[in-house]
Structures are given as structure tokens and as C-alpha cells.
């Protein structure tokens, strides 16, 4: 008779093998990391620039500059450019975060070499023509206006201002009127300062061979762009704890953001905090999910996460709950925080979370594109994939008593910032 009650034995291949990238440097100094798998048909190329929003002098500069790389340049009109890119089956992803801006190309291997000069023209000679700008800016403004009706978006804006400080690089938050202040000259200037060979790093993944690397050298190996070395900025976080509410009369739900600044990735406590966060709200079986969704049914989802940037890290709890249970949810969140600060996590729960995180590491490092994504996230640490090795070891070594200490040190409910947007009753 088949035993369906007893779970099959769980095996654990404890050694996590993290592939290290190949590495070379173009003659102008651009580092090129490579994750190779010859069985793939498709390639991915990441160009990463020190050009995130923290560097901008004016709201929206960094994001709009980045997104306009797809528009006309000295070589191609935007229409011809998009036709060429599409004809060769490529996908271009342009985006920024607080620290970096990037352009990611996805394409079939056979088209990679052909597409490189197009990418070069996009990155080095964008025109920023007034008509393209008008089009892009009005579309972005529209998207922003739509988001600005979502409780979660409104809460996120307020939360970001308060957690980093409105007048700091990380705390600057655009509003709708900022779209009208932006001009093509701002973008030209920003591009001039930030998009050049001295500010660029590359990751290429897929069936990469020497010929591809030679073409990268041919295409990007010279001293292109203005070499102005703005590689850093000062972030003096100006954190304001407390509760901030914003009313949305007709909202069926309230968006809640709660959190506080933490230590950075380089700090020895960081891997411990990753475990603490997972227990708290970092996976489906977490305490916040088990209690507030799976037991109470107050929400479709509630998460906590650690957002780490180059010069700061924060923990944040994010949820949208029925307007009528806003207060009850806040009470339960506090209750869960206090449990973490007063009760030692059981061996059972801790081993479950460590196992789960082992699986998460495998998933997030599975295959060349995932590895490229992981490396991109921590490219500023100059530690390469060793970072994940170290982080993994830290996670597996953490003990329950240490987590209690982490919660007592870092999760004081009195020191939290809470933002509630909606119809709080």
C-alpha cells in the first residue's frame, strides 16, 4: 500500500554551483561579462550605464533620456530604426532604476552581429528631435496620469519621499507637472554626461563565441561619447518615520506601505536580514501571507521585500486591503513584527525557509539569461557572482537566535514609516 501521508525524503545537494562569467575588456576599458550556453539559439546583450534617476538634475531626465534611445538618431529615423530592429526579430528593453540605466537586446544568434551597429547608433548618436520628444513625453505623461489614480502608485510615491528624503537623489519623486518642465536640451545634456564608453559595462549571454566578442570590440571598442566621469552621487538619507494618510474617497481598497531603511548589501547582517524578510513576508508561506491572506482573507496579497540600491537599502511591506479592514490589517502587521521580536523562530520553520531559499537560488540562477539578470542587479558591487556565493553561505549559516536579534535591531515598530492611501475607516 502506497504511503501517502509521509512526505518523500527531501534530498539536498548542498553545494550550490554558481557559474562564473567569462570576462574580457574592450580596448577602451569596457568590461564584458559572458554567460555561455551553446545549445541556445537566442542571444541577450545588456549595456549598463551609470545613468539612473539618482544622477538626474531634473525630474524625469534619466528615464526619458533612456527611453528616447529608441527614437531617431544621426544614422536612422525612428521609423527606419524600428523597422530594421523588428525585421531582424529583435526585442529592445530600455529601463532605469535609481542607480543605473540599461539597454537590453534580445535576438536570434544569426542576427546578433548585424544588429550591433544599430545598437551603437542608438546609444551614441540619439537626435532627441523635438517631434520625437513630444510624442514620447506625452505618452509617458499619459501613463503616469493613469498610474496616479492607483492607490498603490500614490502610496509608493509618498513612501519613497519619506523613506529617503525628498531632496535626496533616491527620494526625488516626479509629479505630473514635471513632464511640462522637461526639454530636449535637458536630455541632450544628460546623455552627453552619462552615455559614453567610460560609463558602460556589458553582459552578453547565450551561444556566445569569439567572433561575437570580436564584433563587440569592433563596434564598441573605441572612445565613444563624451568622457565626463560622473560615476557617483551622495545619498544622505533623510528618513521620516510616522504614519501618513492620504484619502481616496471612492476607493474600495487601501494601499499600505510600511518600512524603514536597512543596512546595505555589503554589511554582514544583510544575508541574515534576507532570511528574516523571507520568514516575515518574502514567500507565499510567509507569516504575513499566512495570517493576513490565508487566515483572515483581508487581501489578495501581502509581501515584504528588501530593496537594495548602491547606496542604501530598505525593507518595505506592501499590500492592498479591503477599505473596511485597513486598521485590522495594520494591527496584524504590528502583531507579526512583535512576534519576530519576541519569539525565537522554530527550527522547523527556519529549515523550511532555508530550503526554500536554496530553491530560489537555483531558480534565479538557472541559465545564462537568469545569470545575466542576477549579475546586472549587483554589478555596482564589483564583487561579481562571488556576491551570491557569499550571500548564500550567510543565509544557510544563520541561526534562529540571530534572527531574533536582527528583528530587535532593525524592526522597531515605533521607528517605522507607514503610508495608507484609500478609504481608511
Amino acid at each position: 500500500m502506497l504511503d501517502r501521508i509521509e512526505a518523500p525524503d527531501i534530498r539536498r545537494l548542498n553545494q550550490l554551483k554558481i557559474n562564473r562569467p567569462g570576462y574580457c575588456v574592450l580596448s577602451n576599458g569596457i568590461p564584458v561579462y559572458q554567460f555561455t550556453n551553446d545549445s541556445y539559439k537566442a542571444m541577450r546583450l545588456d549595456l549598463i550605464f551609470n545613468a539612473g534617476s539618482a544622477f538626474q538634475k531634473k525630474m524625469l531626465e534619466a528615464g526619458t533620456t533612456n527611453i528616447m534611445l529608441k527614437e531617431s538618431n544621426l544614422k536612422w529615423s525612428s521609423q527606419r530604426l524600428s523597422a530594421k530592429l523588428d525585421y531582424h526579430g529583435s526585442y529592445i528593453d530600455l529601463s532605469i532604476d535609481k542607480d543605473n540605466a540599461w539597454l537590453t537586446l534580445f535576438c536570434l544568434r544569426k542576427n546578433f552581429n548585424y544588429l550591433l551597429p544599430l545598437i551603437r547608433s542608438m546609444v551614441t548618436t540619439p537626435r532627441f528631435s523635438p517631434s520625437d520628444f513630444l510624442l514620447v513625453n506625452s505618452k509617458q505623461k499619459n501613463i503616469f496620469a493613469i498610474n496616479d489614480q492607483k492607490p498603490r502608485h500614490i502610496a509608493r510615491k509618498l513612501f519613497n519621499k519619506k523613506i529617503f528624503g525628498e531632496n535626496t537623489p533616491y527620494g526625488q519623486i516626479a509629479e505630473l507637472t514635471d513632464f511640462d518642465q522637461l526639454s530636449v536640451d535637458d536630455l541632450k545634456q544628460f546623455h552627453h554626461q552619462h552615455y559614453h564608453f567610460g560609463n558602460c559595462r556589458m553582459i552578453v549571454s547565450g551561444p556566445v563565441n569569439d567572433k561575437h566578442l570580436a564584433r563587440l570590440e569592433d563596434t564598441f571598442g573605441d572612445e565613444w561619447g563624451y568622457h565626463d566621469n560622473i560615476k557617483s552621487f551622495d545619498q544622505h538619507t533623510d528618513f521620516t518615520p510616522g504614519i501618513f494618510r492620504s484619502k481616496l474617497i471612492n476607493s474600495l481598497q487601501s494601499a499600505i506601505f510600511m518600512g524603514k531603511p536597512l543596512v546595505n548589501r555589503e554589511h554582514p547582517d544583510f544575508p541574515k536580514l534576507l532570511v528574516l524578510n523571507t520568514v516575515f513576508g518574502g514567500y507565499f508561506g510567509s507569516r504575513l501571507m499566512s495570517n493576513i491572506r490565508e487566515d483572515k482573507g483581508y487581501t489578495y496579497g501581502i509581501y515584504s521585500q528588501i530593496a537594495a540600491f548602491r547606496k542604501a537599502a530598505i525593507m518595505q511591506i506592501i499590500t492592498e486591503v479591503g477599505a473596511e479592514v485597513t486598521k485590522a490589517t495594520l494591527d496584524e502587521i504590528y502583531k507579526e513584527i512583535n512576534r519576530l521580536r519576541h519569539e525565537v523562530i522554530s527550527t522547523e520553520e527556519l529549515s523550511l525557509v532555508k530550503n526554500y531559499l536554496y530553491g530560489q537560488f537555483l531558480r534565479s540562477l538557472d541559465g545564462p539569461y537568469a545569470l545575466a539578470e542576477r549579475l546586472k542587479t549587483i554589478i555596482d558591487l564589483d564583487e561579481g557572482m562571488d556576491y551570491y556565493e557569499r550571500s548564500y553561505r550567510g543565509i544557510q549559516d544563520v541561526e534562529a537566535e540571530e534572527l531574533l536579534e536582527m528583528a530587535r535591531t532593525y524592526l522597531d515598530p515605533e521607528a517605522m514609516l507607514t503610508v495608507v492611501v484609500g478609504r481608511d475607516e
Binding site: 527531501i10 539536498r12 554551483k17 499619459n142
Partner: protein, 414 residues
């Protein structure tokens, strides 16, 4: 080329196994052949609510998630109009845990009032969060009943109204389970770093003894051919007016499916597409515009949706849009344009068949629609489309009487 083994257990459960040694992971995907289209008109949203209840514990295992997470696994599920899909990934060495968990909830679910009560609330919050408390969130709640009068596609997977969710009874849950959740109504795919023979053995061991059910007969009312254009105008508190136009198209297995999909790419996929070039860039009527097909198993919809610039008359915008669409009916497109959209599809296919999870999902889906070889031949199906088919299918689809249009107007403009 993706190799796979396919076999059926005596109880009717279909299995597909694919070996991929480039990953330390394994993925298991289970598709149940039941979706929102199988619901009763007065109990909509049920298939999706039921999906939530599948995580509330089974006969021998009180909690589904906990043992999976302990084995390093992660999982999720989705429901659409046609089917319900459960998926997980875990370290390959723990594959047996997945067999243990999934076979138990196919054998017998643990029904509880508490789980039903909580998940009713969770789903109502999901309804609010994604459909009611979002700008443009109710578009599909309006558009589907406009286009479908008879076929159950006329409601959305989330349901017609939160009341249907709130009214769900434990008795409904039990009946739904016994009708649809059994071996002969499911397909399982396992993909990853595994020995095929070992996976086969586990399939027999864990699923072999589950009693077979009778496969429910599906006899859905089919949508009659639409003879008159449908139009709905609503006003909402949104920043920009939007226009949605839908035309009825064939089913997933219609021979023109691939040509239809390519028509949507020609018109509205990416910034080199016709609608974008003409109506966003040149005429500056829309701030953004897209075209796509729903891809449903029964006859679906071809949709064009766009956001209007302030002050643009929606009727004027619709006329210009229709003019663009009509060009495809009257003029043969250039072969380079057709090649362009095909190339884009071919790279998308290459990317979609990389992760073991995607491969497992695709294998189940192609098995469901009766052509598992599509996992390797999908490329060919797109390549084979000819210029004249694009014209032919455009003539079939794009008539005013076959269309439904929704003007979703901003209270602030127009």
C-alpha cells in the same frame, strides 16, 4: 528540437516527459480541462475560485505549500476561459515530492468551510484590486458581454460580479471537483533534469491508482454569426479616453489562426507596426495603440485598443483605424513586411522554449489542443503563412457587422 515521451495511464491521465540536463531544476505542470466557459451563467467566477481552493489541503496532506517549500519548490496557478493550470518548479532531486503532492490533490481534496470562506474573501479582494479599483479595470467586464451574447466567453474568468463569488457554496465546490478534477480530464508534463524512466515509474506509482472519472461532455452554446455592429459608450473617471474595437475570429485550431495572429502583428505590434506609424506618429490621434488576438480555444476576438489624445473625436479616430484595417483587405502586403512579423514571432518562440517551466506549460497546452508536435512545428506554422492568406483572412474578419466597439470616455476630456 525538443524531445519528449508521451504515455497515458490506465485511468486516462496523460503524461508528457521532457529531459533537459542543462538545469538543476525540474518543472511539473498540470492542466485540468476546465475553465470559466464551463461555468453556469448564474455561478460565474467559480473555476477560478476553485483554483484557490486547490491549495487548501488534500486528503492526506493538510497543507499543500508547506511541504513543497520545504523541498525548495515554488508554485502557482492560473485559470482562463478554457482551462486551469497548476505549475511548480523544484530542485530535480526532490521530484518525488511534486508527484506526492499533486497526486494527492487529484485523488481527493479536503473541503472545508473555513478555506472556502477565506478564499471567497481573497478572490473578492482580487476582483476589487484588478477590476474595480483600477483605471480601465472594468474594460473587459464591458467588452466581453458586448461581443458575446450566447457563448460563455461572455463573462470573464474573474466572474460577472463579486456576488457570484460570495454566493459560492461548499456543495458547489464538491460537485465541481468530482466533475472536473480526475485523471481523464487532466494532462501532466514533467520537464527537467530527470531520467525519463524514473519519472515514468513515479507517474505510475503516484497517479496510477487514482480512480478514473468520466470525462464531462462539453456542449457549449456556440456564438451565432454576428449580423449587426455592437456599440457601447461609457464615461469614467480616467485621465484619457480609450477606444476598443473587437471582431470575431476563428478558434485556436482554425487553419487561419496563424495568419490572423500575424495580421495583429502587422497592424499593432511594436513601433514599426502600421497603426503605430499612421495613427500615433503621423496623425497623432492616439498616444498608444495595440492589436492582438485573444487566442481562445473556441472562436475568439481580434482586438485593437488605443488611448486617445485629448480632444480627439472617438468616431473620427475609429474611422481612421478602420481605414487602416481595410487596406489589408484591398492591397496585398509586401513580402518584406510579412517576413518582418514572422521574424519577430520566430525569435519569440525561441525565447519561449528555454526554461523548463515554459516547456512544460507549452507541452500541456499543445496536448490539450490536440497537436503536441506544435512544440517543434509552431515555427513552421507561422512560416507557412502566405501574403494572399493575410488578405483573405482580413476580408473575412474585418467587416463592420462583425465588430463591437467600446468608447471608454474620460470625464475630463472629449
Amino acid at each position: 528540437m525538443i524531445h519528449f515521451d508521451r504515455f497515458t495511464l490506465d485511468n486516462g491521465l496523460r503524461f508528457i516527459i521532457h529531459r533537459d540536463v542543462t538545469t538543476p531544476l525540474v518543472a511539473m505542470n498540470i492542466l485540468y480541462d476546465v475553465g470559466a466557459r464551463d461555468e453556469q451563467p448564474d455561478k460565474t467566477g467559480f473555476a477560478h475560485l476553485f483554483e484557490h481552493l486547490m491549495f487548501g489541503g488534500s486528503k492526506h496532506i493538510p497543507r499543500y505549500d508547506e511541504p513543497l517549500q520545504r523541498a525548495g519548490g515554488d508554485n502557482n496557478a492560473f485559470t482562463n476561459s478554457d482551462y486551469t493550470n497548476y505549475y511548480l518548479t523544484l530542485p530535480a532531486e526532490n521530484l518525488e515530492t511534486a508527484f506526492w503532492l499533486e497526486s494527492d490533490r487529484m485523488l481527493e481534496l479536503a473541503f472545508s468551510e473555513k478555506s472556502l470562506e477565506v478564499q471567497r474573501q481573497v478572490v473578492v479582494e482580487e476582483f476589487r484590486q484588478n477590476y474595480l479599483n483600477q483605471p480601465y479595470g472594468d474594460v473587459w467586464l464591458l467588452l466581453k458581454p458586448l461581443a458575446y451574447k450566447v457563448h460563455p466567453y461572455h463573462w470573464n474568468t474573474i466572474g460577472k460580479t463579486p456576488d457570484h463569488i460570495t454566493n459560492a457554496k461548499l456543495e458547489d465546490v464538491v460537485n465541481f471537483y468530482s466533475n472536473y478534477y480526475h485523471p481523464s480530464n487532466a494532462i501532466v508534463a514533467v520537464a527537467g533534469n530527470i531520467e525519463v524512466e524514473e519519472a515514468k515509474k513515479m507517474a505510475y506509482k503516484w497517479f496510477g491508482s487514482i480512480p478514473s472519472g468520466s470525462r464531462p461532455k462539453r456542449d457549449l452554446p456556440q456564438e451565432p454569426i454576428q449580423t449587426e455592429k455592437q456599440k457601447l459608450v461609457v464615461r469614467r473617471d480616467v485621465p484619457a479616453s480609450a477606444l476598443y474595437k473587437a471582431w470575431h475570429i476563428g478558434a485556436r485550431n482554425d487553419p487561419f489562426f496563424y495568419a490572423t495572429d500575424l495580421v495583429s502583428d502587422i497592424l499593432g505590434s511594436g513601433s514599426s507596426s502600421r497603426l503605430h506609424q499612421q495613427l500615433v506618429r503621423r496623425k497623432k490621434m492616439f498616444s498608444e495603440i495595440n492589436a492582438y488576438i485573444t487566442g481562445d480555444l473556441d472562436p475568439g476576438l481580434f482586438i485593437i485598443s488605443g488611448k486617445l489624445h485629448p480632444g480627439v473625436d472617438p468616431e473620427h479616430a475609429e474611422n481612421l483605424l478602420t481605414k487602416q484595417v481595410d487596406e489589408l483587405k484591398n492591397e496585398l502586403l509586401r513580402s518584406t513586411e510579412l517576413r518582418k512579423v514572422k521574424n519577430k514571432v520566430l525569435s519569440a518562440i525561441a525565447f519561449s522554449n528555454i526554461s523548463v517551466l515554459n516547456k512544460a506549460m507549452n507541452l500541456c497546452y499543445y496536448e490539450l489542443i490536440g497537436n503536441i508536435n506544435l512544440i517543434n512545428s509552431l515555427e513552421h506554422s507561422y512560416r507557412a503563412v502566405k501574403e494572399n492568406e493575410i488578405m483573405e483572412v482580413s476580408n473575412q474578419i474585418f467587416t463592420e457587422s462583425n465588430s463591437s466597439v467600446l468608447y471608454y470616455l474620460s470625464n475630463k476630456h472629449n
